[in-house]
Each structure stands twice: as C-alpha cells, then as structure tokens.
C-alpha cells in the first residue's frame, strides 16, 4: 500500500516538474546564446494553452490521431511510475524491471511512429521512418548498458540496482558503471530527440525527426504528445542521474525521506537538464547518416560495460 502511495507521489512530482525541466533547458540555452528566452514557466503556459484548444484533425485521418497521443501519454506515465525517481520501493505485481521499462518505451515509440504515418503527409512518414531507425539503434544500447549495471547486483529490477548502488558507493565509479552511464547518456539524448541527433527547436520540416511526426496534431492531441514526450525525458534523465548519483532516493515511505527524495530528484534533474542544455550550445546536428555511427559507438561502450562488469564481478 505504501508503495502505491509512493508511486502516486512520484508520478505527480514528475508531472509537476517536467515542464519546469523543459523550461530550464530552453532558458539555459537561450541565455548562453545571448537571447532573452521565454522564461522557465513557458512550457506550463504552452500546455495550458494547448489543452484549451480544440484539436483539429486532418480529413480522412483515422482514430489513431486521437488515441496515439493517449497511448504515448499513458506509456510515459507508466515509465515514470516504474523508474526509481524519488523512491526505490516498487510494486510487487509490476516490478520496475529493465525489460518492462524498455518495452513501455517501445510502446510509446511505436504509437508516435504510427501517428506520424496516419496523417498521410510526407513529413509524418519521413519522421516516422527516421524515428524508427533511431529507435532500433537505441533500444539495444539501453538494454545492454542497464544490463551491465544489473550484473553486480544480480537483478534486472531498476529500483534494486539504484538502491544497491546507493548503499555501496564503490559500485558507482567502477569502469563498468562509468561506461554504462556514458552509453546511457548518449542513447537518452537520441531517444528524447535532443542534439546532436535531432534539433527540438528547428522549423525546417525536412530535417525533423520527432517534430515531423507531430506536425499534424493540434490542440489537446498535441498537448498529450508534448507532455508524453517530455515525461520520457524526465524518466530517462531521472534514471541516468539516479544511476550516476544514487543518493537521496527514498528507500521507505517516511515523510522525511519522501521530502528528501523529491528535493533530491528536482535538484538532480534540473542540474542534469541544465548541463545537457549547456552542452547542446556547443553541439551541431549530425548528418542523418552519421547518427548510426554515434549510436553504434554508444552500443560499443555498453558492450564494454557488460564485459567489464563480468570481469570485475
């Protein structure tokens, strides 16, 4: 029962902090590029605006245009519920197992790709095909790198891995651990459509990946898509920071631990977001056919991490 309460709190906190994360990332980038920026609260205003708007749907489109955003949103909410963000306690019936989380990621990915195809426009199809190409390269690396971290712990449950790393800081700075975290960072950036793989702030349709798929969505549909995609960023970035810095994650349901967990998560998440945004200022977008090279590189790191974790273990 306490686990249920904890997970509800975790989902609510994630929902509340996600637009702020995006706002901070955009604002950091704006300021570093000597632009004024729209302020850290702009994503909240954007979502509120979109939710008030009537969704316009292309003629001849199928109900996928209605349901795919909801599928993405629900899958993202489930990922946020399962990934150890503010607490390491998990539901017994649905463990925060690595394979469950990766499968949920794929559910959202496929929902978005199908949505891109449904509008029948060239841009949507283009975005979907690029998105699937990237997804196909990202998923194995996510599995491998988290697997490398799971070897010393002997469990593929994410919360167990985070808890074990928290208890034994020596595990954090092993070669396997570092390699795995670096590999994870790269694939998280690819999966969430950040530079150098995708440019979230472009207006050039022909270069888009993520944005191309959601071009045909408007109003409420678009709000769900945005929140769904942002939540994936929160979950994945949160997972990475908790694997890299596994401290401050609540191990039980005491109010003090919970408050500490929330504060630690928000601080770590926003700091990580600010670092990612600052790094993006110095990055340009890779040529599309170079993206596989980058992702193959991250797969090699993940593979080395697995090897190292066996050798060390």
């Amino acid at each position: 029962m306490t686990a249920v309460v904890l997970i509800i709190v975790q989902v609510l906190v994630a929902l509340a902090v996600t637009p702020l994360l995006l706002g901070v990332m955009r604002q950091v980038r704006s300021r570093l590029e000597s632009r004024v920026g729209a302020g850290v609260l702009q994503p909240y205003r954007d979502v509120a605006k979109l939710l008030r708007k009537q969704p316009l749907r292309a003629q001849g489109s199928s109900p996928i245009l209605v349901y795919a955003p909801l599928v993405l949103l629900v899958s993202s909410l489930m990922i946020v519920a399962l990934v150890p963000l503010i607490t390491t306690s998990s539901l017994v019936t649905i463990p925060s197992d690595l394979f469950v989380v990766v499968s949920l990621l794929l559910v959202g990915t496929v929902a978005m790709a199908v949505l891109g195809l449904d509008g029948g426009t060239a841009f949507g199809g283009m975005g979907s095909s690029r998105h699937m190409m990237i997804a196909a390269l990202v998923e194995p690396t996510v599995l491998m790198s988290v697997y490398a971290l799971s070897v010393p712990v002997g469990s593929s449950t994410l919360s167990t891995i985070v808890a074990a790393r928290g208890l034994d800081p020596a595990r954090v700075v092993t070669p396997a651990g570092l390699l795995a975290v670096v590999a994870l960072v790269i694939v998280v950036l690819a999966e969430t459509g950040r530079l150098p793989v995708d440019n979230p702030s472009t207006h050039l349709e022909l270069t888009m990946v993520h944005e191309a798929m959601i071009l045909e969505s408007a109003g409420r549909d678009l709000a769900w898509l945005e929140v769904g995609s942002w939540l994936r960023l929160t979950a994945l970035l949160g997972l990475v920071v908790n694997l890299a810095l596994p401290w401050g994650v609540a191990a039980d349901a005491s109010p003090l631990m919970l408050v500490l967990g929330v504060v630690a998560l928000v601080v770590k998440l926003l700091a990580a977001g600010a670092i990612v945004a600052a790094a993006e200022v110095f990055m340009a977008k890779l040529r599309l056919f170079r993206v596989p090279e980058l992702l193959a590189g991250s797969f090699v790191l993940a593979f080395l991490a697995v090897t190292a974790s066996y050798l060390a273990g």
Binding site: M126, T207, A284, R287
Partner: protein, 485 residues
C-alpha cells in the same frame, strides 16, 4: 562598348551561337510591344556588350527557340511567351513558367490592352515529372513554409533519404513590377526597383539608375559612382554576415547565428546612419547617390573581424565542418551550362563578377575575385567568408578616397533613349534595361541573378539527402521576389 544589331528571326540562332562562342553570355532578353509589331531585344555580355533586336509582326508572333544553344535563353523565351504571348518555336520544354495556374490561358498581362485579370478556373496544370520505381516517393514542400521565408514549392522524388530529383516551382509572387514601371517618370521608378527584392535594394536601384543614365546621357560624377560602389559593398556585407549565421543555424549550431544576428543588426544600424534606411533605400537617385554621413570604417572592420571569427569557429567545429563539406556539389560544367552567377558560380570555380567584368569605378588595389573550386556548401560558405574581407577593404578604400565627401546628383535630364545597367549585387550580376520616352519609362526589364541561379539548385542536389536540403538551399539563398517580378 556596345554593338547594336538588327537581325532577322532566321539569322538569330547563328548570330547568338557566334557570340556565345566568343565568350559572351545571355544577360537579358526583353520583349517590347509596338503598335503592330513585337520587338525583342537580346543583350549579350562579354568583353563588350551586344544588343540584338528582332522585330516581328503581331499577327505572326513567334521566335526561334535558342534553348538548344543557350539554356537561360530558353527560360527567357518561356517568360516572354507567358507575359506577351510570343510563341517560342521548337522549345524543348514549352510549358508555362511565370504564369501561375490561376492565370487564364490566353491572357498576357504585359500587353497594353491586357486589362485586369479575367477570372480563370485555376485548372491549368503544372506538369511534375513523376519518378517511378521501387520505393520512390514524393515529398511536397511549400509553398507555405514554417519559417519566415518566401513562397516556393519544392517537389522531391526520393528513395529512402536520397533525392533523385527535385523540381522547384516558384512564381507565386508575380507583382507586375515591370508593368508598374511603365508610364512613370524615371525618378519615380527608383523606389519601385528598390522594392523588387528587399535585400537587394541597392543592387536593383543602381542597375536601374545606370540604365536610365545611359538612356538619357547623364554623366555621373566619380564621387557618386564611388558612393554607389560603397553602398553595394554595404549591402553585400549585411547579407553575407546574415547568410553565414543562417547556414550554421541550419545545422543547429545556433550560438553562431545569435551572434551573426547581433552583427547584422550593427550593420543595419550603420546602414541607417549612412542613408536613413536600414536596407539602404533612398540613397540612390537618377544621376548619382548621396550619403547622409561618411561610412564608419572602424565599425565595419570590427564587425567583419568578428563575423570572420565566428565563421572560423563554425568551420573548426568537426560536426559543422562535416555537414558543410561535400554537401550539394555544383560542378563547374553545370555552372557554365546554366550561367549561374554570384557566389554560387564563384564557389564552383567560375570567376564571374561584374565588379571585375563591368567595372564602373575603381575599387582600389585590395579588390579581387574570390573563387573556390569544390562547389559544395562549404565552398559557398568560404566564398562569403572571404568576400567579407574584400568588402571591408573596398569600403575602407572608397571612404578614404571620398575623404568626407558624401556624393552628389547630376541635374535631371528629360529625353528619349534606351539604356542598360549592370552591377555586381550581393547575389551576383544584376542587370536592368530601360527604354525612356520624354523622361517617362516605356519599358523596364530587370534581371535578378536569382533568375539565372535558381535552375542550378536542383542540379546540385544529386546524391544529397533530404535532411541536407535546407542547408543546400540556404547556401544558395536565392530570391523568390527578384526571380518573379
């Protein structure tokens, strides 16, 4: 030196072929409506200028097509067919060019009795070649785009991500500029030419003013010519600075773009100080040009140094360098075949530059033509990068020679005649031809360099992938408005 010849339709092709063989290029073709005849003037530029005039009766209005020997001539012929109804005979690609689908067939707007456009049914087709094959699909883009850019429709035939063919359908913004000029006093039209393409205000107005001055025999003082050359360089500077940033922005290296935008703003304010207008409007008049104050060479040099540093930062970035290199290669033969102009031609190794080919004032010892040989996006980036330095040097030289004098304007003249003006605008060689009767413009023909260079863009896309198109397009940065008058 100008040679004016009258030729018959039968002799036209052989005469033009001979001139093309002696290093001339087709610079301008303009049709004129007479009482019972059409008169078509071909202007060919080389070491000298040759004007060929062909006259034909109205009820037998056809021209032999030169498309087989001169690619740009084929496009001029289609334009004349659309605007005047003169048929090009044996044209290999006879479909409409300037006429948009909603123009009714048989209505030729440049004719004096054309009147307002009758209602068309909009059904006239625009044939896109359909590429067929396994996995080939089409991506239609535009004419309405996500950014603040002009309207153009691009139809890509694509396999996977590789572009097999791209057809650009422009001509969405015909404003009837040439028709608007007719019947106005020569002085009134300067403002119109400044607005042909907003970023080429000086290029168009200087070419127009030079054409009128030749027609009316007005002598322009050296000071005024120096001021005009200086303004052309100011126009080149702010556009090149903004292009360098925009190209890098298209590979998502936005910080460079933020800073080039800042520098562009400084140049625009400098423009305003020089002429009272950020886009340099109002400085050029028939008979001369005037500044409101001398150019601030220290500011120009500082801005150029900063812009060059930014460009160097971009080129030193491995990912940016990789994105620019070998993207959208335009080969030298393609440039020569299409007569592409400006930095596009120079980036492919063709040293075409009206500042050297048709100089109207000495630009000083530091002026030289920049060429690159690779023909890729990087080469077009580098040509602009080096030209910044040349422009700054020319501005410094002209300012020194002007020594605080701000230019002057010769007294107006009323008269009759025809004249031709050619300048190196920032996009490339730009020319105007006017005919004046008693101080009133009877015909204005303007040719923006974009007219010549647009067809080169699809050629450069061989082996380019779809996500690189915006970058390739930005490296050409052609004008839609200058192309479609």
């Amino acid at each position: 030196m100008t040679t004016a010849l009258t030729v018959t339709r039968e002799d036209l092709a052989s005469t033009v072929a001979g001139l093309l063989g002696t290093g001339h290029r087709m610079a301008l073709v303009a049709a004129h409506e007479e009482t019972d005849a059409f008169r078509v003037v071909y202007v060919l530029l080389g070491a000298d200028r040759v004007e060929l005039t062909v006259t034909m009766p109205r009820d037998d209005a056809w021209l032999p097509s030169l498309a087989a020997i001169c690619y740009p001539a084929g496009r001029f012929e289609r334009e004349i067919r659309d605007l005047y109804g003169i048929r090009p005979l044996d044209h290999p690609l006879p479909h409409r060019l300037v006429r948009h689908a909603h123009w009714p067939t048989g209505w030729y707007p440049m004719l004096k009795d054309a009147g307002p456009m009758p209602a068309g049914d909009g059904s006239a087709s625009y044939p896109f070649l359909e590429v067929e094959g396994d996995g080939v699909y089409e991506i239609p883009v535009g004419p309405i785009h996500a950014g603040l850019i002009e309207p153009g429709h691009f139809r890509f035939s694509v396999v996977g991500e590789t572009i097999l063919r791209m057809k650009a359908r422009l001509w969405f913004m015909h404003r009837g500029v040439e028709k608007l000029a007719e019947g106005k006093a020569v002085g009134e039209v300067v403002g119109l030419t400044e607005r042909i393409s907003g970023d080429t205000a000086i290029g168009h107005s200087v070419a127009y003013a030079m054409a009128v001055e030749e027609a009316l025999g007005i002598e322009v003082s050296e000071d005024a010519r120096m001021v005009r050359a200086l303004l052309l360089e100011c126009e080149r500077l702010y556009n090149h600075v903004s292009d360098l940033g925009a190209m890098v922005n298209d590979v998502a290296f936005g910080i460079i773009h933020s800073h080039t935008s800042r520098l562009r703003e400084q140049l625009l304010r400098h423009n305003e100080a020089l002429t009272g207008h950020r886009l340099l409007r109002g400085a050029v008049e028939i008979g001369g040009a005037r500044l409101t104050r001398a150019a601030d060479t220290a500011l120009v040099e500082r801005v150029v140094a900063e812009a060059r540093e930014l460009a160097e930062l971009a080129l030193a970035h491995t990912v940016v360098a990789n994105r620019l290199r070998d993207t959208a290669v335009l080969r030298r033969e393609q440039v020569e075949h299409m007569d592409a102009l400006g930095y596009v031609a120079r980036a492919s190794g063709v040293p075409v530059d009206a500042r050297a080919d048709h100089p109207f004032v000495d630009l000083g010892p530091d002026f030289h033509i920049i060429t690159e040989t690779d023909g890729d996006v990087r080469a077009r980036f580098l040509v602009r990068y080096y030209e910044l330095g040349v422009s700054a040097d020319v501005i410094a030289h002209l300012t020194r020679r002007l020594g605080g004098r701000l230019g002057d304007v010769a007294p107006p003249a009323r008269g009759t005649g025809a004249g031709f003006g050619v300048v190196e605008a920032w996009r490339g060689t730009l020319c105007h031809r006017v005919e004046v009767k008693d101080g009133i413009v009877t015909r204005l023909k303007a040719v923006d360099p974009s007219w010549f260079t647009w067809p080169a863009l699809p050629q450069a896309l061989t082996d380019t992938i779809v996500p690189d198109f915006p970058l390739a397009n930005k490296s050409f940065n052609l004008s839609y408005a200058g192309n479609d008058l």
